[in-house]
Amino acid sequence: MTNSETEGYIHIPFCAKKCSYCDFLSFPCGREKQQLYVDALIKEIESRSLQNRDYRMRSVFLGGGTPSLLEYGLVKKIMDSMYENYDIMPDAEITIEANPCTLDERKLDEYLDSGINRISIGCQSTNDKQLKMLGRLHDSEGFFKTMNLVKKSGFENINIDLMSGLPDQTLAEWKETLCVIAELGVSHISAYSLIIEEGTRFFEIEEELNLPEESIVSQMYQSTAGILNKYGFIHYEISNYSLPNFESRHNLGYWQGIRYEGFGLGASSFEDNTRFSNTTDFDEYINNSRDKRIRRDIIKLTKEDLYSEFMILGLRLIEGISENEFKEKFNVTLESVFGDTISKHVKQGTLARNNGRIFIPEKYLFVSNQILADFI
């Protein structure tokens, strides 16, 4: 009954410091403001749950920002409110994002007590010079210490975020990083190739950065799946790798077009084929989080939008999309909507078709925009 399932995203916009590559909504913040924010968040959760009685929540994701920066007790408070107001499924995946050096035993215990069963750690690199360049507050030692704590605490589902294509990074360094992380016994690795986004510090100083050549960056990407595979990881999405059955359920939801409700400052939601995001104005949010008028950029998706999103999100997955699912979901054949585009790409080898599924062959994933743009 996918139709009656929903996902929950909770945005924690606080960071001790902004990283050089980050274009997410986040800023530093003291305890009092945190308290105010969590209160507003809970108001929003309460108010929205009233309109969403029919849905069961299959995953919750506390993202940021740095959710692990929240003072003791606040995560529990948020999760209590979620349990109180939503029908969270017993096997729901509940994730919190954390940065090294913001965790201690007490916080980890609080998370586990709150029902959180997955933790995602923003490691990015194990090279101290690169960490510094990225503007991260931790060093590799800090990361390994944190990892020890996390493992000891009893978390079994652990994700590590890594970045490739960093300034001064070599192919050999990247491969080594992958091995080091894989050997830590984690269940999931997200490996992102650095994208310089507008509005970040890196964007301003891009010319000064000694970024590796495109061919090197491409080799970093192309080598990742093979290396991680040796440790049992399966490449399942453009930038995501997991041990069998440890794919991120929550994130899969985004790529499979599952409904999601985003709570908090700037958080995005997708409800009833409509996408919107909350205000990014902190004071407005604090004062009016219960009110629908904090919603911005409300976009009702047309049939064509939905077809197109099915493809551009679904094709991010290594297994691609299913022709049957398309038909079941939209009551029209994939062939009749995208037949020509698909044939063109299948003919030139940039899409593959197998057992009713259509997917991007591994070697073209890193240039997938060229293919996805044809489905807009």
């Binding site: 992102y192 061919s215 999601y260 700037g266 939601s269 997708f270 999103e309 551009i312 240039v367 997938s368």
Partner: protein
């Protein structure tokens, strides 16, 4: 008041006329009284202004209109004669037009001044010659700093060919670099006309423009001609108006024409009944009772197409025709052809409609449907020259909102086949198999390049590279000379002018006229993208330049074609022989590394943008080629 009322009945409420009413209601009355009463031929002056580009022709025209009181300064928009937006932006005059003003001279008498504007570009030389034929005299404007330039001479010779009385005016004397004395001497030495008492003016500020007005009255002869003879009127312009039909600008040489006259266009044979005659205010039409010998004005006769009223044709009275037409008429033929295609194939019909509408107003525009493997359905279009091409292209894009792909402009080659037949080749793809070709000819021009002596070397080198045949050098003064060359038209239509400017640091000026055809070794150069021939990129080239052109073409295409999923070879070939190759390397990274719930809208926009970019490209096999690649390869950089 009665006159005004009558006028209102005459007028259709077109936007054009709303403007007339608004701007010069009062003046209409004033002017009309003048015409109806006192004027005879001796008080008419028909003249034009000739000048090198940027020497201030249009500014002087503005000032004359302003100072004769047709418009007040407040109503005056700069360069009122150039009423197409495009003309104004480019600062050049494309179509001839005429303005009538009334000037009260220092002798106390009032004169009608008919100022006929002439196009300022060699593409429109024939129209210039017809405008000149409508005049009795010409003002030669020379820039006080720059002196005589190539077009000064070109236009002057044209004017003298038409027996016009020419007097010089030295313009821009307010510039710090002005050297009026030097320029006066230059005019006397080079042109051989008296220039000591030439008005020294600043058209910009209006300084001494009154002297120009007096000189018009004194030096330009009144029109001759017999108003009792059969009608003979010269068409020097015609424009299409959706309410009135074709509006013909003409100079009446003999006889008279009025409403109801059955007129005959002698070259095209068209016969129509005159609906209205009148004259031009500043950009507006003012009807009157009749036009008689010596007058300049317009005629409307519900004519639906400008091709019936060719510039240069003679209008006569169908019931009382003249013996023979005025001399000098010729049918204007296109000199340059190219393919025009809608960027989006779905807009083919829109392009057809737009061309049809432009054609109503531009008899020299030619088009016929053609098909390209690369570009789909489009039109092969003929133009007077590259400027004409660019103007049409811009008007299509701007006024008709069309997104176009233009293929390589081509001159008309004469192909002599082995079976003894000859045909005009306007599209390179129609070149027959080499085994069927006996030989080919290409059009050549006689060019005059005026240049300061410092740059003679580089310019001669340029002309040599462009296969020029040197005819000679004439020194105008110690530091300036005119170089004379025969050049293949093909060598000058793309980028010759730019090259000339860059090699002379902007000091060279250039004028040319078509000379005829000459036999030449020509080959068809094909471009293959990903091993597929792109017909729209083929062109005819001199055999000796083929290797170099092919190489530069490939290099340029390599820059223009974005990297794609595959490696793309770009090759230039003559027949089956590859003469150059470049490779567009495969794209290695183009990915949205992260795409979660909050990213979707934004990331989708990125893909949409990418899609938009793709829309502006044409697929040739697997390869997408941007539209601009089709034209930019023609503007190959120097060396």
């Amino acid at each position: 008041m009665t006159a005004l009322k009558r006028r209102e009945i005459h007028l259709n409420p077109t936007p054009l006329f709303c403007i007339i009413m608004r701007i010069i209601k009062a003046k209409v009355l004033y002017l009309e009284e003048k015409i109806l009463s006192t004027f005879d031929k001796s008080h008419i002056r028909n003249f034009c202004i000739i000048a090198h580009i940027d020497h201030g022709k249009s500014t002087l025209a503005d000032r004359i209109i302003e100072m004769t009181g047709l418009l007040t300064q407040r109503e005056m928009q700069d360069q009122i004669l150039d009423n197409m937006d495009l003309e104004r932006e480019r600062g050049i005059t494309i179509k001839a037009q005429a303005v009538r003003t009334v000037y009260k001279a220092k002798n106390g008498e009032e004169y009608i001044l008919n100022m006929i504007d002439t196009p300022g570009h060699v593409d429109f030389n024939y129209e210039v010659s017809r405008s000149l034929a409508a005049c009795d005299g010409a003002i030669l404007v020379v820039d006080a700093a720059q002196g005589i330039e190539a077009q000064t001479l070109g236009n002057l010779y044209l004017a003298l060919d038409h027996d016009l009385e020419v007097f010089p005016v030295i313009n821009k004397i307010d510039l710090p670099s002005a050297e009026p004395e030097r320029v006066i001497n230059e005019i006397e030495d080079v042109i051989g006309i008296e220039a000591q008492d030439a008005p020294q003016i600043s058209a910009k500020t209006g300084l001494n423009v009154d002297q120009v007005l007096e000189a018009i009255v004194e030096k330009i002869p009144a029109p001759s001609g017999d108003e009792n003879s059969p009608l003979q009127a010269l068409i020097f312009d015609s424009v299409y108006d959706s309410y009135k039909g074709v509006i013909v600008s003409c100079r009446v040489m003999n006889g008279k024409v009025r409403k109801g006259t059955k007129i005959k266009m002698m070259a095209t044979g068209a016969v129509e009944e005159v609906v209205e005659v009148g004259y031009f205010g500043a950009g507006q039409m003012i009807p009157c009772d009749e036009l008689s010998a010596g007058m300049v004005g317009y005629i409307t006769a519900s004519i639906k197409n400008v091709s019936l009223t060719s510039v240069g044709d003679t209008i006569t009275d169908n019931d009382r025709p003249c013996d023979k037409p005025l001399p000098g008429y010729k049918k204007v033929n296109p000199m340059v052809y190219c393919g025009l295609y809608p960027a989006d194939g779905a807009h083919y019909q829109d392009l057809r409609d737009a061309l049809e509408k432009l054609k109503l107003n531009d008899a020299s525009l030619f088009y016929e449907p053609e098909t390209s493997v690369a570009l789909g359905f489009g039109f092969r279009c003929g133009f007077l020259g590259l400027l004409h091409l660019e103007i049409i292209q811009e008007r299509l894009e701007r006024e008709y909102n069309l997104d176009l792909i233009t293929t390589a402009p081509s001159v008309i080659y004469k192909v002599h086949k082995t079976d003894g037949t000859v045909f005009d080749l306007t599209n390179p793809t129609n070149l027959p198999d080499p085994s069927q070709i006996d030989y080919m000819e290409e059009p050549i021009v006689k060019a005059e390049i005026m240049v300061t002596t410092d740059f003679i070397g580089p310019i001669m080198q340029l002309c040599q590279e462009r296969r020029g045949q040197y005819l000679g050098t004439e020194y105008i003064e110690q530091t300036r000379a005119v170089l004379k060359y025969i050049l293949p038209l093909n060598e000058i239509i793309y980028d010759f002018f730019d090259a000339l400017k860059s090699r002379s640091k902007g000091y060279a000026s250039f004028d040319y006229e078509l000379e005829g055809y000459q036999r030449s070794s020509l080959v068809k150069l094909d471009i293959l993208v990903n091993k597929e021939e792109v017909d729209a990129l083929s062109f005819i080239v001199f055999e000796g330049s083929a290797y170099d052109r092919g190489r530069r073409m490939c290099e340029k295409l390599k820059e223009e074609i974005p990297r794609q999923l595959f490696e793309i070879p770009i090759q230039a070939a003559i027949g089956s022989k590859i003469i150059a190759r470049e490779t567009v390397r495969a794209l290695r990274k183009d990915v949205l590394a992260k795409c979660y719930g909050g990213d979707i809208t934004r990331k989708k926009k990125l893909l949409e943008k990418q899609k938009e970019g793709k829309k502006r490209m044409r697929s040739i096999g697997n390869v997408e080629i941007p539209q601009k690649a089709f034209l930019s390869v023609l503007k190959l950089d120097e060396s």
